[in-house]
């Protein structure tokens, strides 16, 4: 074993930390035929590799394959339920083994050596992480090996709030309150209006007087105050439309927004 390859060397502490299968067995003792102890086929392979007591980089993949297959065989002989992934790995390893034993020229691509190398790399990585975990767990850990102060006084920052408000904000707030809550009263004031009925009556009556074109405005009451005038205009306009619809009036307008004229139809 090469001392310089420290991270790859087995670390004694790791097994102790989690009490894994490797720790509970003797050197050559029969493996526990219990799959619960392993975290999958790769884990079992790594455990078997560890038993070769060599650097993972110098491990014999063939020997490893034999051990794995032997293990699975024994498990099957005991009629243990084997998880599918263990069996898949066994099949793949059996294939790898036969390929490794075949003459070189009959190799497929990728070559079995490449497959073996990949497997080896993966085992190295898993092994490295396992040892790293063990070294991590063996550190001086807070609450187990080193301790914080038992009864710290604690730091406290008392926040003292200084409230700020100026008179403008104050007065505006008051205005807002009043504006918000002031009762809103909608009062409809009594206004002089000309109803549609009276406009109809008025317009048709005036149309009966003449055959000439008469501008709409001339139908309005002459001395009405402005608001009544507006109402009369609107009502008379609608009355004119209604009379036109009934065929009792003709409408004419020379331009948009121009004066609207009406007269009694000649036939009527």
């Amino acid at each position: 074993m090469n001392e310089a390859r420290l991270p790859l060397d087995p670390v004694e502490g790791d097994a102790a930390e989690w009490g894994g299968p490797a720790a509970t067995q003797g050197e050559d003792a029969a493996l526990y035929l219990e799959l619960d102890g392993w975290e999958g086929p790769l884990d079992l392979l790594l455990d078997l590799a560890r038993r070769q007591k060599v650097d993972l980089r110098q491990i014999s993949i063939l020997a490893l394959v034999d051990q794995y297959l032997g293990y699975i065989d024994r498990a099957e002989a005991l009629r243990l339920e084997l998880a599918a992934d263990y069996l898949v790995m066994a099949a793949w390893l059996a294939y790898l083994k036969s390929a490794l034993l075949l003459p070189k020229e009959e190799q497929e691509d990728p070559s079995p050596e490449e497959l073996a190398l990949r497997l080896q790399l993966r085992l190295q990585r898993l092994g490295a992480m396992r040892e790293a975990a063990a070294r991590l767990m063996a550190r001086d850990r807070l609450g187990r090996d080193v301790f914080l102060r038992g009864a710290p006084e604690g730091l406290r920052t008392d926040r003292k709030t200084t409230w700020q408000c100026d008179w403008f904000a104050l007065v505006r707030a008051y205005g807002v309150v009043n504006a918000r809550t002031a009762p809103v009263v909608h009062m409809v004031r009594e206004r002089p209006v000309m109803t549609l009925d009276s406009a109809l009556e008025r317009v048709s009556a005036m149309l009966g007087v003449t055959l000439e074109w008469v501008e709409l405005r001339q139908f309005l009451p002459p001395h009405a105050e402005p608001r009544l005038r507006k109402s009369a205009l609107a009502s008379s306009f609608v009355a004119a439309l209604e009379l036109a619809r009934l065929g009792r009036a003709e409408l004419a307008q020379d331009e948009t927004f121009g004066p609207l004229r009406l007269r009694r139809p000649a036939a009527a």
Partner: protein, 211 residues
């Protein structure tokens, strides 16, 4: 290190540090494995000498030893941070209402605001020192009434509530017109408000123009 503590001192140092309560020399001696109590006492003395002048002290209280912050540094543990915050809108409104209508009950404030007022809002204003309890109104239920304080006047730079800026303008703008009948009812027909001479917007007489 100029003065390397011996093993016993280190052990005591660590134990007292990690301990959740002060410890007597006897309990220390027991904890550390049946040591001679006089040795522990001596180590405690040596340690306390070491910590003199440092930021933490090793002190004996009632025969029990513990570490504590140096007394002159106690202020470091309780820091005061001043924080300037703007009064919330709700609080500003309540404050304004109290100022213009005082003395005023919470129900009246709510009636004027048109929304429920959390008691926290008045609490904040009293905590700030701008509003105080000014007794109870002698009406059924005897509600607590609130008024502003001298501090309030000082903060807003007023010599009296008559100075409340903008009150005349508000009145002229009709902003101080009374609110509604509920308000009138709550005000108990105004008979107990004789002493109220200012802020006049809420006087019942002006209610008439609503009809």
């Amino acid at each position: 290190m100029s003065e390397r503590p011996d093993d016993l001192e280190r052990a005591i140092e660590a134990t007292l540090f990690a301990a959740e309560e002060p410890m007597t020399p006897e309990s220390l001696a027991g904890h550390l494995g049946d040591l001679a109590v006089p040795d522990v006492r001596q180590a405690l003395k040596a340690l306390s000498v070491h910590y003199q002048g440092r930021g933490i002290h090793l002190v004996e209280r009632d025969r029990r030893w513990h570490f504590q912050t140096a007394p002159d540094l106690a202020h470091l543990l309780r820091r005061e941070r001043e924080q300037v915050r703007r009064l919330s809108r709700a609080a500003t409104e309540v404050l304004a209402i109290v100022a213009y209508h005082e003395p005023v009950s919470r129900a009246e404030i709510e009636s004027i605001r048109g929304v429920q007022t959390s008691s926290g809002t008045l609490d904040v204003l009293m905590e700030v020192g701008w509003v105080r309890v000014a007794g109870r109104r002698e009406v059924p239920g005897r509600p607590v009434i609130y008024a502003t304080t001298a501090e309030f006047l000082a903060h807003f730079g007023l010599s009296s509530r008559r100075d409340l800026p903008g009150i005349d303008e508000l009145k002229a703008a009709g902003l101080l017109d009374p609110v509604d009948d509920v308000f009138d009812a709550l005000m108990g027909d105004g008979e107990d408000r004789v002493e109220e001479d200012e802020g006049g917007g809420n006087s019942p007489e002006t209610d008439d123009n609503k009809a």
